[in-house]
C-alpha cells in the first residue's frame, strides 16, 4: 500500500514532466521488409495460408460512426488468435488463428469521424456536421444513422467540405499512416503471421460500388513513401497511375482487389472503356496488371453469379438475396441487364470475348473471399459472427432488423453472410510469398470454412498420378490454379482435390465451372459435377443429374451431423466438350453439405423465433471457389506479348 502512494507521486511528476513518449521495442530488420530470405521455404506451395484482406478499424470514416472503438492493434491481435474485448464488451476470439491480414481502412477522410467525434462541439460550424456530431454522441442508433447519411452523401458527392478539407486531411492521414505502418511491422513475423499494409479506395459514382482494396507487398521503408490514395473524385486509371508510380519510385509491389461488384449496378466489369467507347488494349492490360484478384464473396453478399445469368446452375443463388436489389446505399435499383457487369463469372466470360477482340483480357483474375468487417474483428465463421459493423455485434433481433445502408426496404440483417476468407498457396508465410501467390492468382475464395482446394491443369494427367506424389506431378507437368495453359490440340486434363475443413462440415460435391467462347463468338458457361459423396452408391447420377446430398440440420438447435457427405473428393477430369482453338476458363467450386448459418445460431443463442422462410434461407451450403485456369489458343508469331507473364 505504501507503494501506491509513492507510485502516485511518481506518476503525477512524470506525467507532468511531459515525458509521455512510449518506449516501444523496435521491429527487427526481418519484420520491416517483405520477408524475403527470412525463413526456409517449401519446394512447392505445401499448404494454403488463411487470411482476410478486407478489414476496417476505428479510423475508417464509417466504421467509427457505426460504433467500433477497436483499432489496428486489436485487429492484429485478434487475427493472430489472441482474445480481445469487442467494442460492445463481449470477449472475442477466433477458433483458429489467421495467417495473414490486410487492414484496409477507407482512404477518404481517414480518421475524420473519430476526429469529429472528439472535437469540441463549439468548433463544429457546418450545420450538417453539427447534426452528425450530435447524432454520433446521442446514441448508437443515431450514430449508425449518421453514418448511413454520410455514405449516402459520399455517394451523392455531397460531403461537407469541412470534413474532407484536403490540407488538414492530408496532414492527418500522413500521421495516421506512419504510425499504422510502424504498428504493422511490429506485428509482422515472418513464418508466423503476416501483416500487410493496405487501404480501401472507395469510389462510388451514384452509389454504384467500384471499391478496391489496395494491398502492398512491402514494409514501412517503402510504404512510408506514399500515403493512401483518395477514392472520391478520382478514377480507376488514376489509382493505377498511383500504383505504377509507387512501384517505379520505391521498387516495391502493389495490387488492387475489386469487391462487391454485386453492388455496382453493372459498372464493375464493363464491356466498354471508361469513356463509353471501345475498351482500349492499354486500359485492359493495365487493369489485368494491377488487379489480378477479385473478392468474390464477403459479408455484403456473394458475387460469383446470379440465377438470372446462370439459370442451369442450381447453386447460383447463394448470397444473392437482398443484395441483388440495387447499389450499395440502395439509391438506384438494379435491373437484369446490369447483372452481367456485376458478377464474377460473367466478367470472366466478358474477359474471353474482349481478349478475342483485342488480344488482351482485362478480366483474367483469380478469386478470393474476405470479410469486409467493420468491427476490427476478422470473423468468418457462422458460429462466431460479430456483425458487419459494431452496430450489429451479437444481440437478439439483429437478424431481423432492416439493414442500415440507406435504411431502405428489402435488405435485412439476415441477408448478411458471415464473411469469407482468402486462401493463398504459398511456400511460406511472408509478405513476399503471399503477395506473389496473389499476383500469380494461386489463391482461392471460401465463404468461411477452411477447405483445402487443389487444382492442376495439364494434358497428360492420369488416374494413377494419385498413387504417387501428385502435387509434385501437378507442379512439374501442369499449371496450378491461376495459371495459363496453351492449347496443344488435345483436351486438357485436371487433377482436382477438395479436402474438407478438418473442424467443419463434410463435402457434398466438387464441380468444374467452364466458360468459353463458341464458334459463333457467343459466350457460354456450363457446370460439371466431377466428384460427389457416395457417387457409386445411392447418389448415382440419374440422367446426368446428381441427387441432392440430404440435410441433417436441426433448425432450432443450429446443429448438423457429418453423417452425409465426404471427407475428401478427388477427380481426374478431362473436358468432354473441348474444341481445338477454343478460348476457355475452368474453375472449381467445392460445396459443403447443408449447415446452419449465423442467423440460426443467433436464434438459438438468444432464444427467438424466425419466420419459416428466413429459417429455410439460412440452411446454407458453404463453398470454395478456386481461381480459374485459362486455356488459350496457341500463340502465333504475330500475337501481342502476354500480359500476365510474371510470377
Amino acid at each position: 500500500m505504501e507503494r501506491n502512494k509513492t507510485g502516485w507521486v511518481a506518476l503525477a511528476v512524470m506525467a507532468l514532466a511531459g515525458c509521455g513518449l512510449a518506449g516501444e521495442g523496435e521491429p527487427s530488420e526481418a519484420q520491416r521488409g517483405d520477408g524475403s530470405d527470412t525463413i526456409e521455404l517449401a519446394e512447392f506451395p505445401d499448404r494454403p495460408y488463411w487470411g482476410d484482406t478486407h478489414l476496417h478499424t476505428d479510423i475508417s470514416v464509417d466504421a467509427f460512426g457505426f460504433g467500433v472503438r477497436l483499432g489496428a492493434e486489436e485487429a492484429l491481435k485478434f487475427a493472430r488468435g489472441d482474445r480481445v474485448t469487442a467494442t460492445t464488451g463481449m470477449e472475442a476470439q477466433l477458433d483458429r488463428p489467421l495467417d495473414f491480414l490486410v487492414i484496409s481502412d477507407h482512404s477518404d477522410a481517414m480518421g475524420s469521424t473519430r476526429r469529429l467525434y472528439d472535437a469540441p462541439r463549439i468548433l463544429v460550424r457546418d450545420p450538417t456536421l453539427r447534426r452528425w456530431y450530435d447524432m454520433l454522441h446521442e446514441s448508437p442508433e443515431q450514430s449508425t444513422r449518421a453514418v448511413a447519411e454520410l455514405i449516402t452523401a459520399a455517394a451523392n458527392d455531397a460531403i461537407p467540405e469541412a470534413l474532407i478539407d484536403p490540407e488538414r486531411q492530408a496532414a492527418a492521414t500522413r500521421e495516421l499512416w506512419d504510425s499504422h505502418l510502424d504498428l504493422l511491422d511490429r506485428y509482422n513475423r515472418p513464418g508466423e503471421f503476416t501483416a500487410f499494409a493496405g487501404f480501401e479506395w472507395t469510389l462510388m459514382p451514384d452509389g454504384n460500388n467500384l471499391h478496391r482494396v489496395v494491398m502492398f507487398r512491402d514494409g514501412s521503408v517503402k510504404t512510408g513513401q506514399v500515403v493512401p490514395f483518395p477514392g472520391l473524385n478520382t478514377t480507376p486509371e488514376q489509382l493505377w497511375d498511383y500504383m505504377e508510380a509507387y512501384e517505379a519510385n520505391t521498387g516495391g509491389r502493389v495490387l488492387a482487389i475489386p469487391h462487391n461488384s454485386n453492388l455496382s449496378n453493372g459498372i464493375m466489369f464493363e464491356l466498354v472503356g471508361p469513356d463509353g467507347g471501345a475498351m482500349s488494349a492499354s486500359y485492359a492490360s493495365r487493369r489485368a496488371r494491377y488487379e489480378p484478384v477479385v473478392e468474390a464473396t464477403q459479408i455484403k453478399g456473394d458475387s460469383e453469379t446470379h440465377p438470372f445469368l446462370s439459370p442451369n446452375d442450381e447453386f447460383a443463388a447463394f448470397g444473392v438475396a437482398g443484395w441483388e436489389l440495387g447499389n450499395l446505399p440502395l439509391t438506384r435499383q438494379t435491373t437484369p441487364d446490369m447483372f452481367e457487369g456485376s458478377y464474377v463469372r460473367s466478367a470472366l466470360l466478358r474477359g474471353l470475348t474482349l481478349e478475342q477482340q483485342m488480344g488482351v483480357n482485362p478480366y483474367a483474375f483469380g478469386l478470393i473471399g474476405s470479410t469486409d468487417s467493420h468491427t476490427a474483428l476478422a470473423t468468418g465463421d457462422e458460429d462466431n459472427f460479430f456483425g458487419k459493423h459494431s452496430g450489429n455485434e451479437p444481440r437478439a433481433g439483429r437478424a431481423l432488423q432492416s439493414q442500415n445502408l440507406g435504411t431502405a426496404e428489402g435488405r435485412f440483417g439476415w441477408h448478411y453472410l458471415a464473411g469469407g476468407y482468402a486462401a493463398a498457396w504459398a511456400r511460406g508465410n511472408t509478405r513476399a510469398e503471399i503477395f506473389d501467390a496473389f499476383m500469380r492468382r494461386e489463391v482461392y475464395a471460401t465463404t468461411g470454412p477452411r477447405m483445402v482446394l487443389r487444382l492442376f491443369a495439364g494434358f497428360d494427367f492420369a488416374e494413377d498420378d494419385w498413387n504417387w506424389d501428385w502435387v509434385r506431378a501437378g507442379y512439374t507437368r501442369g499449371v496450378p490454379m491461376g495459371g495459363d495453359l496453351e492449347d496443344i490440340g488435345r483436351a486438357p486434363v485436371f487433377l482436382i482435390s477438395a479436402l474438407k475443413d478438418p473442424d467443419g462440415a463434410n463435402l457434398d460435391r466438387v464441380q468444374v465451372v467452364k466458360g468459353w467462347v463458341d464458334a459463333s463468338g457467343a459466350a457460354q458457361e456450363r457446370v460439371y459435377d466431377v466428384a460427389w459423396s457416395d457417387m457409386d452408391g445411392e447418389r448415382r447420377s440419374v440422367s446426368g443429374r446428381v441427387p441432392a446430398v440430404g440435410d441433417t440440420v436441426i433448425r432450432r438447435e443450429a446443429t448438423y451431423e457429418n453423417s452425409i457427405g465426404a471427407a475428401e473428393l478427388r477427380a481426374t477430369w478431362r473436358d468432354p466438350d473441348y474444341r481445338p482453338g477454343q478460348r476457355a476458363f475452368y474453375y472449381v467450386r467445392a460445396i459443403e453439405i447443408p449447415t446452419p448459418s449465423w442467423v440460426l445460431f443467433d436464434a438459438k443463442r438468444f432464444g427467438f423465433d424466425l419466420p419459416p422462410e428466413v429459417i429455410e434461407a439460412n440452411v446454407i451450403q458453404e463453398r470454395a471457389y478456386s481461381s480459374p485456369v485459362w486455356l488459350r489458343p496457341r500463340r502465333g508469331p504475330d500475337d501481342a506479348p502476354r500480359i500476365m507473364g510474371e510470377g
Binding site: 500500500m1 505504501e2 501506491n4 502512494k5 507510485g7 502516485w8 507521486v9 511518481a10 506518476l11 503525477a12 511528476v13 512524470m14 506525467a15 507532468l16 514532466a17 515525458c19 509521455g20 513518449l21 512510449a22 518506449g23 516501444e24 521495442g25 523496435e26 521491429p27 527487427s28 499448404r47 488463411w50 489472441d82 477458433d95 483458429r96 488463428p97 472528439d118 472535437a119 469540441p120 462541439r121 454522441h137 511490429r186 477452411r450 483445402v452 487443389r454 494419385w466 482435390s497 479436402l499 474438407k500 475443413d501 478438418p502 473442424d503 467443419g504 457429418n562 471427407a567 475428401e568 478427388r570
Partner: protein, 262 residues
C-alpha cells in the same frame, strides 16, 4: 490507527489528490481558476518560446514572443472564465478527455520505464504461454473412413494399409499450431493423449475420419530465451503493465464511491 488509515480508500484518494496537487505546486504555475492573477514564470516563458521554435524551426523574435505570450494569456483568461462559468460541466468531450487524462496519468510511468532483464525474465516466466512454440510432434499416420476398418487394420500386418486422403503420411517435428491447421483440433487433441513408441496405435478420431498413428517423437513446448524475443516481451509487458496500473488506480478511486443505479 495509521495502519487502518492506510487501508481506507478515502485516505488513498485524499493522499493521491494531495500528491498530484503537491506535484503541480512543485512545478510552479499554480492553476487556480479562482485567482485573477496570472503569473508568468520564467519556466512558462521558456516553454512558450520552445513551442514556437518547434513549429517554426527558429527562436521567436522579441515581437513574436510578445505576441505568443499575449495569445497564451488570452487563452488562460478565457480558460479561467470558462471554468468560472462552469462550461466544463455537462460537456461529454471535456468529461471524456479528463477521464482519459486520469488513465494516462496512471499508466505514464510504465510507458517510459526501461524494464530490466530480470524484470522481463520474471514476467516471461509468468506469461510463457504466448511465446512458446507449443511443442512439436513427429509421427506417421494412416487414414480410415470408419473406426471398424481402423481397428481391423490395427490387428493385421504392419504397416497398416488405409484409404487415400490428401494428408501427409508422415511429418517430422510439426509444430502444434501447424498440426491443428492441417489435421484439425480433434486429431491434435487425440494425439496428445498417446505415448510415443514404435508401435502403431489408435485409432484416434479427426474431422476426416479415423487414424492409426505411430508417434515417433514429441518435444515439449519451450520458450525461447529472453534475448531472442526481448522487443516483443517488452512491448507486451508494457501494455499489460499500463492496463494493470490503470485498473488498479481506478479501483482505488472507485472504492471511495457508492453508486446507486435507480
Amino acid at each position: 490507527m495509521i495502519r487502518k488509515l492506510l487501508r481506507d480508500p478515502l485516505a488513498h484518494f485524499l493522499l493521491a489528490g494531495a500528491a498530484i496537487w503537491g506535484a503541480l505546486a512543485l512545478l510552479g504555475d499554480p492553476v487556480d481558476p479562482a485567482s485573477r492573477t496570472i503569473e508568468l514564470s520564467r519556466e512558462r516563458q521558456a516553454g512558450i518560446a520552445l513551442g514556437f521554435e518547434r513549429m517554426m524551426g527558429r527562436p521567436p523574435t522579441d515581437a513574436e514572443m510578445d505576441a505568443a505570450i499575449a495569445r497564451w494569456v488570452r487563452e488562460e483568461v478565457l480558460y479561467r472564465e470558462a471554468l468560472r462559468l462552469g462550461l466544463d460541466q455537462g460537456d461529454a468531450v471535456v468529461r471524456r478527455r479528463l477521464a482519459t487524462k486520469m488513465d494516462e496519468l496512471a499508466g505514464a510511468e510504465a510507458e517510459i520505464v526501461r524494464p530490466t532483464d530480470a524484470l522481463l525474465d520474471a514476467w516471461l516466466a509468468d506469461n510463457a504461454e504466448g511465446y512458446g512454440d507449443g511443442g512439436a510432434v513427429s509421427f506417421a499416420q494412416v487414414f480410415f473412413p470408419s473406426e471398424q476398418a481402423a481397428r481391423d487394420a490395427l490387428g493385421g500386418p504392419a504397416p497398416p494399409r488405409g484409404s487415400a486422403i490428401s494428408l501427409p503420411r508422415s511429418v517430422d517435428a510439426m509444430e502444434l499450431v501447424e498440426l491443428e491447421a492441417v489435421f484439425g483440433r480433434q486429431f491434435a487433441s487425440g494425439l496428445s493423449q498417446l505415448p510415443t513408441g514404435k508401435a502403431w496405435q489408435g485409432p484416434i478420431r479427426s474431422g476426416y475420419g479415423w487414424h492409426l498413428v505411430r508417434l515417433e517423437g514429441r518435444t515439449a513446448g519451450s520458450v525461447p530465451p529472453l534475448a531472442e524475443i526481448r522487443e516483443r516481451v517488452e512491448a507486451d509487458w508494457r501494455s499489460a503493465t499500463i492496463a494493470a496500473r490503470r485498473q488498479r488506480a481506478y479501483e482505488v478511486l472507485r472504492e471511495a464511491y457508492t453508486v446507486d443505479v435507480e
